[in-house]
């Protein structure tokens, strides 16, 4: 009954969006002409940067995107729980490791924030932080925040905390808030940088996992799957974007040379000169990203996602000079692996 209600609501909103298309076009026209108010001018600038024609072309996408989201939600809600369950000991160590990894990347983030502070006249706050941080905060504020966050990570790594306690959840939320502020400032320093994207996404779901463990321990395994979904979700949604924004162009190896204009290099040029190879690589990337949600139903699909993800990130480093071996994306792949793989294998052997 609830599924039917969900599907009916989704279709209702889809049809509503269809009817609102004309209204959305009016909004774009209004925003183009408007120059008052922070929010309006921000949106107007964004619409302008998209270009009027492009913005209008994207309106039909919103409807299709809504359907894609609903189908995705339906898939997640309808899939059965996997039979294997994570043990408390495994999860506790996984959480320790996650916060321990933050200790590795915080000094690097501080360095990046300091560089941005030196160029503070170029600071452009994004929409939400623009209400709070209209100007770049002081170095003291940034250093204090990073140190505070470092202390929380060290607490999780070294102390004897109880996962099912409120303190673990509260500290994870405080850490998440600190990272949110840092990344808001980090993004305000220039164009988008995805260095910490999957790590931040995992951080959101880590707080949810600790909340579930605190309030309803019986659902902890679902919380852990959600935490993993925060990582593979980044791949899935970037795959969807490739499909929606580039469409079939993404699979055309002849267009690889356009990427090389932004990321020149010897390997990129080689790929551009071999459209069959580059076309295959682009197709494989899209396939691995779009298939990543299979992990929700089949936990061992993680080996495919993590293995391909490893080659993908090392490949973008080699060919496009994006990321690198030290990227947080690579470390996050580790958390996709099922925690109890050895136990399950042992059980299967016993059963056989």
């Amino acid at each position: 009954m609830k599924y039917r209600l969900f599907v009916a609501t989704s279709l209702g909103i889809f049809l509503l969006l269809w009817g609102l298309e004309h209204w959305l076009e009016e909004v774009i026209l209004h925003l183009e002409k408007s120059d008052s108010g922070y929010l309006t001018s921000f949106l107007a600038n964004k619409i302008e940067s998209l270009g009027t024609e492009e913005a209008r072309n994207l309106i039909p996408q919103i409807k299709i995107r809504w359907l894609a989201i609903c189908l995705f939600a339906f898939y997640l809600m309808s899939s059965e729980e996997p039979k294997s369950m994570a043990t408390e000991k495994d999860l506790r160590w996984r959480i320790r490791l996650f916060f321990g990894i933050q200790l590795v990347y915080l000094p690097d983030l501080m360095k990046e924030l300091s560089i941005r502070w030196q160029w503070k006249s170029f600071y452009e706050p994004a929409l939400i932080p623009g209400f709070i941080f209209k100007e770049m905060p002081s170095v003291f504020f940034l250093q204090f925040g990073v140190l505070f966050c470092f202390a929380i990570g060290a607490y999780f790594l070294l102390s004897k905390w109880k996962p099912g306690s409120s303190i673990a959840f509260i500290l994870s939320v405080v850490s998440l808030m600190c990272w949110t502020i840092f990344l808001f400032i980090y993004m305000g320093g220039g164009n988008i940088d995805h260095t910490y994207a999957s790590m931040y996404s995992a951080m959101i779901f880590m707080s949810v996992l600790l909340f579930i463990w605190w309030k309803n321990p019986t659902l902890t395994d679902s919380g852990h799957r959600l935490f993993q979904a925060g990582i593979w979700g980044c791949y899935f949604f970037s795959g969807l974007e490739k499909l929606f924004l580039s469409g079939s162009n993404w699979l055309d190896g002849n267009l690889f040379k356009v990427l090389c204009q932004s990321h020149p290099g010897r390997f990129c040029d080689w790929f551009a000169q071999h459209p069959l190879v580059s076309g295959f690589a682009l197709c494989a990337v899209l396939a691995f990203q779009l298939l990543s949600p299979l992990q929700w139903r089949y936990p061992r699909w993680a080996y495919v996602t993590a293995g391909f993800g490893l080659f993908f990130h090392l490949g973008t480093w080699l060919v496009l000079d994006i990321g690198g071996w030290q990227s947080p994306w690579l470390v996050m792949l580790l958390f996709l692996l099922p925690v109890n793989a050895n136990n399950s294998l042992a059980e299967e052997k016993l059963a056989a």
Binding site: K46, I62, R65, I69, F72, A73, L76, M77, E81, E112, I115, Q118, W119, S121, F122, E124, L127, I128, T180, L183, F184, M187, G189, G190, N191, I192, D193, H194, A197, Y200, S201, F205, V208, I212, N216, L219, S222, G223, L226, A229, G230, G233, F236, F237, S238, L240, E241, K242, L245, S246, N249, W250, L255, V258, L259, Q261, S262, H263, P264, W296
Partner: protein
């Protein structure tokens, strides 16, 4: 059981709203920025200016100052993406065949020109 099935909706919410919004309303979720094959090389809001004989002029492809006449577009990208100052400065200056009197970056913000001198 019902609560268990509601958990995934949180996942859909976190990823779904920025996905529907299309643009960078949420600064931590700009999927489109690394998904699109660009039609042309990206334009940078930052200009490179050179000062010679009492005049500031914008650096362009084919400039006699540049080695092989190639505009250091990657340097501009480095500026926009990671703002690694030392790397950016080195990358930019290394593209000059001969040095003008001065090199600066300029960005127009709210009808105001912001200029930073890079060289000397």
């Amino acid at each position: 059981m019902f609560r268990q099935r509601l958990i995934p909706l949180f996942l859909v919410f976190v990823f779904g709203i920025p996905f529907l919004m299309l643009t960078d309303l949420f600064p931590l979720h700009r999927y489109g920025m690394f998904a699109r094959i660009p039609i042309s090389a990206p334009e940078s809001p930052v200009k490179i200016l050179v000062y010679q004989d009492g005049n500031w002029t914008e650096l362009s492809s084919g400039s006699p100052y540049l080695d092989a006449g190639i505009l250091p577009r990657k340097s501009l990208e480095a500026f926009g993406d990671s703002l690694k100052e030392s790397q950016f400065r080195l990358a930019l200056l290394s593209t000059f065949k001969k040095m003008p009197d001065s090199i600066a970056l300029e960005k127009i913000e709210n009808n105001t020109k912001i200029r930073r001198i890079l060289y000397p």
